[in-house]
């Protein structure tokens, strides 16, 4: 039985988001999920990039790293590798994760870093006032795409599955109960767990009502361990909420632990011996 309440995870700072912003729902779900898991705040690190949603660590009373635009994943990887005891949750937006930071996403996926990545996807740049993002729709009008967006959107879920993420799910800020459960499953999953959280920007791209109408649950008979079916589901139009893909695979943390266990213990003096050039000294292994 959990002893901590969602409010225990709130910091003294109040979110700076616009009224109605989907990120409130995501944050509420995160608080509730952390309480459900009874996470020790001092052993939890929330890592973010830059953007509206990346302010999130400041609103949680855990450890946090508010990094640079696009860089939460490699920072989160360093945190987890250096201290595997910690629960590490990376958060950010679609611009942070799939434009400037897109180079890190497939590598986090293929490495199966033991980190949960929660992306608040609003299909727009909010903090810089409404420009098109990598998940903005074709022909979408925005200040930077006055003639309509000439580009097709990226499909982060398909990308995650293709690149080797071992947990891929979609949730929505307006369905906090389901999102809470998804976050819990993602954090408890061993390896890289990615959640695309639909989180409407009520100021610059208010998709709230249309998204509410468009979402469906992943069919109960969907087999999330079937990668091809998961890929198919991710590529299909529409918004299926739930777990698209789940795989059991050794994590990066486990693989490095194995390297550590296989390493022959040494120390700096032995390493210095490898360079020994004293006359008549035994020939060591080449340093």
């Amino acid at each position: 039985m959990s002893t901590r309440k969602p409010n225990d995870y709130k910091s003294e700072l109040k979110p700076i988001w616009c009224p109605g912003c989907g990120d409130f729902g995501v944050l509420a779900s995160l608080y509730r999920s952390m309480a459900d898991m009874d996470l020790d705040p001092s052993k939890t690190v929330i890592v973010s990039g830059i953007g509206c949603s990346s302010r999130l660590p400041h609103f949680a009373s855990t450890y946090g790293v508010h990094t640079l635009h696009g860089r939460p994943l490699p920072v989160a990887m360093g945190v987890k590798l250096a201290n595997p005891e910690l629960t590490v949750i990376a958060v950010g937006g679609d611009g942070d994760g799939f434009a400037i930071g897109a180079g890190h996403f497939p590598h986090a996926s293929r490495r199966n870093i033991d980190v949960t990545y929660l992306v608040m996807d609003n299909e727009i740049y909010g903090l810089t006032k409404g420009q098109a993002s990598p998940t903005s729709l074709f022909e979408q009008k925005a200040p930077s795409t006055p003639f309509g967006n000439p580009e097709d959107p990226l499909n982060p879920l398909a990308l995650a599955i293709a690149a080797g993420a071992s947990f891929v799910a979609r949730g929505a800020s307006f369905n906090t109960k389901a999102l809470t459960e998804l976050i819990t499953q993602a954090v408890e999953h061993k390896g890289f767990s990615y959640i695309d959280a639909m989180s409407p920007c009520t100021t610059f791209n208010n998709t709230q009502e249309s998204w509410k109408d468009a979402v469906t649950d992943v069919a109960p008979d969907h087999d999330p361990t079937d990668r091809v079916k998961a890929f198919d589901l991710a590529l299909r139009g529409g918004f299926s909420l739930g777990i698209l893909y789940r795989q059991e695979r050794t994590t990066q943390t486990e693989r490095y632990k194995a390297i550590l266990e296989q390493a022959k213990p040494s120390d700096v003096n032995v390493m210095l011996d490898g360079f020994n050039a004293r006359k008549g000294a035994a020939i060591g292994k080449p340093a």
Binding site: S42, H66, T67, M77, L81, A263, L272
Partner: protein, 573 residues
Amino acid sequence: MSARNSVVVRLAGESGEGVISCGDILTQAAARGGYYTQTFRTFPAEIKGGPCMYQFRLSDEPIWSHGKDVDLLVCFNQEAWDLNWDSLGPEGVILYDSVEVTIPDEYLDRARPVRMDELAKEIGGSTRAKNMVAAGAITAVIDFDTTPIEELVLRRYAHKEGVADANIAALHAGADESADLAGRYPLVPPVEVEEDRMLISGNQAIAVGAVAAGVNYFAGYPITPASDILEWLSVRLPQVGGLTIQCEDEIASLASVVGASYTGAKAMTATSGPGISLMNELIGYAGTAEIPLVIVDAQRGGPSTGLPTKTEQSDLNQALYGSHGEAPRVVIAPVSVEDCFYSIVDAFNYAEEYQVPVILLTDQGLATRLEVIHRPDPDALNIVTRRTSAGIAREDYKRYEYTDTGVSPMGLPGEPNGMYVATGIEHDEYGHPGYTPEIHLGMQTKRLGKLEPVRETSRVATHGEAQPEDIAFIGFGSTFGPVREAVDRLREQGLSVGAFYPRVLGPFPASRVEAFVANATRIIVPEVNYTGQLARLIKAETSINDLESVAKCDGLPFTAEAIMDLAAQEVAA
């Protein structure tokens, strides 16, 4: 000819002909035989083919530069001669492959054909042992005992039957080839010493020094000439409970170093100029979030892809000022291979003490050359660890608290009272975002001001007069060796000369530099770049205006002779 205390040997050939391994084995044998040695190499930027060169200098005394005039030039092919003949000293001897190389008539009286290909084929059935024939020919000319070479060959080919024997036979056959030149450059026998010495490169000294400093997280991305730090630590860090990871780029490397250090790890990366360019935004972040970390920049010729396999000291500005805004950092430049070991320890100590990013500037020459050094004693090192929030009550804890030193206690995950959010956004003492004039000025003062004591306390490499009256040399990094050697020679000529090499260039020890030059007639600032970055720094940071900036931009290190020429030029004028 009487025995000499210094010999410069240059091997040249095509990459893949065994030039490098020949140089390596001779250098190792010399070091094990009790000599001091320093190597100098050029590499082709291509993987296969291309001309390569390996120079080494041997002496019974410590060596401070790789030497200018080659005493013994060994040419594996015609191009080797064509590219290297002008390095030959006035009395230098040439050994060349009897089939592949034609030597101009005017050099024939001091050139000796060696049947490198032919003998190698005769003995081993292929030209593979060609380099050992060359090695043998060299040993005869300089009166060098072949025993340590044979030991190394036996060790290297212990698992390959017959190969060691063939190599040793080739070695002896080569020695016979040049037997008539025996004693042409007799090297004095090495002094018997009891102290422990090592043969090590700058990159290796940094890697093992980092282990001595307690590094337990390394992330990097392959780049010439820094990759061997990544490779060496990949094997060694797990042996001391640490971890090395190759990342998808330099940004991810440094970002993961930030994450690791955030948890309390001693974390570092190593790269070259192009990598530092990519890391600049994160350097500003680490400075602002006050995350300790170490970045090694093995400088190469720039800008852009530039000269990946040549040396240059052109990242000084980038190291000092890179990243937008005004971001704190410490910039260290070791002056020798031995100093690389102590400087990486300094780097971690500064990082931990001041909670800042530290950039260690070496260069291709220093990073890749082998040098005999005195074995460091890891137990004698002073190792600093960061100030943490341990023992502070939750309600009293402020991550970015204003303190007398400007250094605040760092909370580490797992510590219940130290929770905070590290951030690059301007913030108050709690780490909460805040943009008031008071906060920004207060925090900039704290972050930049905390480093001020370093100006007065940083280590400096000096040689010669403490306050020279004739010539004062100021420089940084690897030019110290040739300058040191030149200082000795100039003082023998009766001049009052000294060298002052700040190891820490940022924050700059301005008043100490001013004191050093107080009585000097001439101030010479040699550096390997185009714009004279150190000279500009001195002018900006000190009251010194009248200095001679000698910026050399040819991808090659200074020689002691070139420094002597600088000193002589104006005397003649």
